[in-house]
Symmetry: C2
Subunit: 752 residues, 2 copies
């Protein structure tokens, strides 16, 4: 019974389409002229001895970007995208990431520095240089790691078969068929038509463009006599061990087949333990895709692999496999615009793929992908090599085309410095946190995207993080204390801090009873729980009237069933961000404003200020664009201005009375300006709250004067759990405070 | 300028009415015949070396119950009530708390055991016995501790006056005036008319009932020549030191005045430091109030003290104070039904109180209290002594009346074993937690009653607790993990636990796409976040139809925007309560049911089962009464029964299909029945959640068989933070598990 029949009979359709997928993508760091960078691996990318995402391949200039193992090609590609964004944003100034598999310019071989990865590794690279030369090592590509789920493999077992046996049976079948049909992938996705002259030094020279030098015998391949058998895993193991024993290969990993069996360093282990997944190595970089491969192509490769398993169970002979190798070589070396080597075989295989899509109820998007590939099969100019050939013809040189594309990829990242496009539907603070985790090399899993729930690992140490700074380092009770303003005040007052006097009321009758206690005093009336400023009224000294007071309480009661009547303190409000026993950032928020230049109108000044890429909708950007709506016009009117008024040079015009960032306000970092005494108080308050991470809102009349215990020296408005981080990381003015990195350091004090 | 004028001129009305109030109430443990208990202080009340609430006074049988310092008389009385409830519920079987100041029966003096509080203390008690005899020590009363707020006292300061000076000035004035007018309180609240013959042994005998033996010279007073001056604090200190130096008093604390200056062990300290608060000691136990004093009387005492400060600033001479002492002695020794000693003076003082109430805008309830006291001033039969005299006349003996009242107080507590009446508007689990904290002697403050927020102290160690088990011992992230079912499943699956397979969908289109993956399998469809069972549908094996499936998803989507489609596992659901690395309780919930006796109808069986005091509305009681509504009648019908059907003996009839306690279900403790392997898994799951307190819901086919890793051996439904405790503490059947005590032990491992 073949695999397709078992799937259909045992109802395994759902399990069959699940997979584990990981991508590894190599690429050269180049300069603006297309030459390889001579700088060492950037220290910003942390320690290569453990970094899971950002590594070097053969050369120091050759980055290897590795996605985590994910459940889908889309997810793998998304992580690969995020890793690219982090990488690009931390490349040394002037460097780009070369978007093609083969560099347009190759330096003297002496100028290619092998990756500095420790002695053993260096010796291995020297051996490779000796044997293959340095130039072939400069070629980059994508490795596609593919595994079926254990549940699916378990379900495929026949009587008496162990899990290891079914693993080896299914993966060997997949590998054989891959070798047989890989030419179709080279035809569709090959994209390495040229190499600089130096590449061919001392050997045959390709004078015409081809589909993929990299996938051909001109690529980085073993010597012709190095051959392994794919008749069975046992035969494979035996032939590979022989090659190593004879010294033809220095180690198993020196075998460069287009498919590798993964799960152990030693192939003999695999016989017992079973193959864990396959690594497919024939994919050239797609220069038109920012990260070397499109999501559609990554999905297509998954479908292609499923299709191989879906084929009828014809036993493949060694000769069949050789036929596949021959077709691949011929395809790789054919002209980018030449027809498919065996169109009939290709069309037949796609017929199987389409039938499978039907039977598995695959989504329309998958069928669309297949339809496009069928078209490419018939029209070589639509293939990747075909399109690349045409684009270079048009541009005039590979170098110029590659540099244009590289620059565009870089610009797209630099235009959005505050987030990761790959995770654009998560909160900005989570995006910044993920970027840091990727940069420093923490194991990363998005547990729940909508809920901003992330899992981190470093060695055996697991931490869970929600919304960027909700972690195990805070206790369960501290956010509950902060959430409750009454409890917060009691805790702070008992700890000896200057807390405004406060009375709690739940209805207008109670409010009436307390009126005489607050009459004439400056007070603020606010709902017990609110973070949005709704239902808050302020009475200045001597202005409380009983009717107004009751009306204010009534409005606050609309927001919460308990209302606080509090002493109001004059001064400026500052947000202190405390983490790990230290005040990391202090921020002043200022209402939306523009400053005149003596020439521009208010509207023009707003437009100019809004030009800052940090300003946008205020959700997908750290700051919000200033609007010019009814409220702003009223505010202008109060200052004797209109939208078309020209503002004298240096005059500050406010568009809003409230200082919220969400209504176009400015955030200004004041960390270095504030007297240290307040920072100490903020830390002590955080301790009193039994918290590790806390945003403390102070009212301070003069930040340059030291805090005193007198009630007029400062006041504490509230303490906030899960305090916002983006306004400190990307303030409108002043120094950026990378708080997400502080969170990581707090969670992992052992990080080197 | 007198204090009243300063209050009015400086707008201190609000501050003046604030106060710190604490109550100390003594009382004898007696047996059913009214004789003093000969048992030692019950060990259930913990260690007297630090217990803040439950202490002994002179004798081992004489409890001293102490409220914390609170912000109002109502709050102090409430705590005193709670302390009484805890005390009564843990008295040795057969004991009662004698409700009057003087016991009805006194044993041979040799049989009175002094409180066993350590050597120094014992020697002091022996000295007192020598000097005053044991019988007078057997008299009990209430001490009313009263302080003004620091903010008020600060605001009263005159130029150059220190805070200590204003404290001493104001409190000395209050003490002098109290001594002058205390007779009014004795007249209104005195309640110690009789003492047994033995009490008078070897001295003058009172043959007629009086208002208060305890407040008279027959009470526990100093020898006649022991006199201190209240002319000023300096004079007081000098005269008191002289008495101690001369050996007339062994220590300052041997002075038994009706007011004491508090704040230091040594009166000389007070001169520098200032008096912190006053202790008023003349209050007899009110036998008609369950805790020795009514809330109205406690408030009246507060008003009385404010009224003393409100009086015009007439300097009181030593003679005035002596006149007050004389009036008190005469009042105490007057017949309970005799008129007030100086009605005019009394009426004048109440006129001041009423004017004060007017000017301070005191609530109507305060004015009502004053009106009643004025009536009592004019009608002695309405005073406490008057009413007690009449009640004893009616009953025939003090002993019988006292025992009746004591028994009623005890019954009221025992009828509600699961909570504290004093905190009845808080959750039951918080009530149980508070009861434990009181019993074991933790410092206790209710930070926010509506929010179930409590502060505990033991020594310097502060802990905050919300909803009974939300504490600093759990991390911030663990409840967030548990709150999110997707994240919970991932964490559990990665940790290797048997978690049902689960797919998340957010709309009907996605649901349609996953249908083929679950078709035919037993599944449950549920909203991602719900704790109330809303929107959950179950499909048994082979019963999934696409239309029904989509309808179930649609219903679930009404409850949450994300819906889980999960493998459904057959078996029985159990709740495991894990705390501090141990499974403390395992519970089975069974749908509402009754068991037939061959005679009663279903309706009668329900009525009988509902008779259990644990059953009520399910909020203020641990279990819910079984209803007989439409759903129950339908359920009966399905079993071929009606409400008036007679059920054969031993037959179990279910009134509901769901097992929720909130619909009348039974909770059954299974902690000792469950195979230990599941308990270990529950602990391991709690660890994987990085939690300390966790309620894990298992599906287990057979609790007697050990757990295996196979997916059919057990399944985990979910892990719950802040798990319910009452159903384990008061199960319908099986052993009670006092989880609130476990929480306390977790928080305070240092507790002896």
């Amino acid at each position: 019974m073949n695999i397709r029949q078992v799937i259909l009979e045992r109802g395994l359709e759902g399990l069959f389409t699940q997979a584990t997928i990981g991508l590894e993508k190599e690429g050269q760091r180049v300069l603006a002229d297309g030459k390889l960078s001579q700088m060492g691996h950037p220290s910003a990318f942390g320690d290569r001895s453990f970094h899971p995402y950002i590594q070097t391949d053969f050369a120091e200039s050759q980055l290897e970007l590795i996605s985590p193992v994910t459940a889908s090609s889309a997810e793998a590609l998304r992580f690969l995208g995020a890793i690219h964004e982090v990488t690009l944003s931390h490349l040394p100034k002037g460097e780009l990431l070369w978007p093609l598999s083969i560099p347009a310019v190759l330096p003297e071989a002496d100028h290619i520095l092998e990756a500095q990865m420790g002695e053993v590794d260096t010796r291995y690279r020297e051996y490779l240089t000796q044997k293959y030369g340095k130039y072939k090592q400069m070629v980059s590509g994508i490795h596609y790691n593919f595994g079926l789920t254990e549940a699916f493999l378990m379900s495929l077992r026949e009587d008496g078969e162990s899990l290891a046996q079914v693993r080896n049976r299914v993966y060997m079948t997949l590998a054989q068929r891959f070798l047989r049909y890989q030419w179709i992938l080279v035809y569709l996705l090959g994209a390495a038509p040229w190499a600089p002259e130096a590449y061919f030094k001392g050997g045959d020279v390709l004078t015409e463009p081809v589909r993929s030098i990299r996938s051909s015998s001109f690529g980085y391949v073993n010597q012709p006599h190095v051959q392994v058998s794919f008749a069975s895993l046992e035969a494979y193991a035996a032939s590979l061990c022989r090659l190593v024993d004879s010294g033809d290969l220095i180690a198993e990993k020196e075998l460069y087949e287009s498919v590798r069996f993964r799960g152990s360093q030693s192939v003999l282990d695999l016989l017992d333990k079973g193959i864990q997944y396959l690594e497919f190595r024939i994919f050239d970089l797609n220069p038109f895709a920012p990260y070397g491969i499109t999501e559609a192509d990554a999905r297509f490769i998954h479908l292609f692999l499923l299709g191989l398993l879906w084929l009828d169970d014809d036993e493949l002979t060694e000769a069949d496999i050789q036929r596949g190798r021959d077709l691949k070589e011929a395809t790789a070396l054919s002209h980018p615009l030449s027809s498919a080597m065996d169109l009939d075989e290709g069309m037949n295989f796609f017929a199987v793929l389409e039938a499978m899509a039907e039977q598995l109820h695959l989504p329309a998007s998958d069928r669309e992908i297949l339809a496009q590939k069928i078209q490419q099969l018939q029209q070589p100019e639509l293939t990747l090599a075909g399109k690349l050939f045409q684009a270079v013809e048009e541009k005039g040189s590979v170098r110029d085309l590659g540099l244009d594309l590289a620059q565009a990829n870089m610009t797209a990242v630099l235009d959005r410095p505050f987030g990761l496009q790959a995770f654009a539907n998560m909160e900005l603070s989570t995006q910044a946190f993920l970027a840091d985790a990727i940069q420093y090399g923490f194991g990363l899993e998005i547990l729940d995207e909508r809920d901003q729930f992330v899992k981190l690992t470093f060695g055996d140490h697991i931490e869970y993080v929600k919304n960027g700074n909700m972690t195990s380092h805070d206790s369960y009770i501290s956010p509950l204390i902060m959430e409750n303003k009454v409890v917060t005040k009691k805790v702070l007052a008992q700890a000896g801090f200057a807390v405004p006097d406060s009375i709690q009321v739940t209805n207008l009758e109670e409010a009436g009873q307390v009126f005489h206690r607050v009459k004439g005093r400056p007070i603020v009336i606010k709902p017990k729980s609110t973070n949005f400023g709704l239902g808050i009224s302020i009475f200045e000294e001597g202005t409380t009237d009983q009717a107004d007071f009751l009306e204010a309480v009534r409005l606050a009661l609309l927001e919460d069933k308990e209302v606080m009547v509090e002493d109001f303190m004059a001064g400026t409000e500052y947000r202190f961000f405390v983490l790990g026993g230290e005040t990391r950032a202090v921020l002043l928020r200022v209402p939306a404003n523009v400053t005149g230049d003596g020439k521009s109108t208010v509207a023009q000044l707003i437009e100019a200020k809004n030009d800052n890429p940090l300003r946008g909708d205020g959700k997908s950007t750290p700051l919000k664009k200033i609007e010019l709506g009814d409220l702003e016009v009223l505010q202008l009117k109060a200052q004797g201005l209109r939208a078309d008024s020209i503002v004298p040079e240096g005059q500050k015009v406010y568009l809003r009375a409230n200082s919220n960032i969400s209504t176009g306000g400015d955030s200004i970092d004041m960390t270095d300006e504030v007297h240290p005494s307040y920072k100490e108080i903020a830390v002590a308050i955080t301790k009193a709250m039994q918290a590790e991470v806390c945003g403390v809102d102070f009212i301070i009349p003069d930040i340059h004067l030291p805090a005193e215990t007198s009630p007029t020296s400062y006041g504490i408005i509230e303490a906030n759990f899960n305090p916002m981080m983006m306004m400190h990381i990307f303030p409108a003015y002043g120094t950026s405070r990378r708080l997400t990195t502080d969170v990581l350091k707090m969670l992992y004090p052992e990080y080197p």
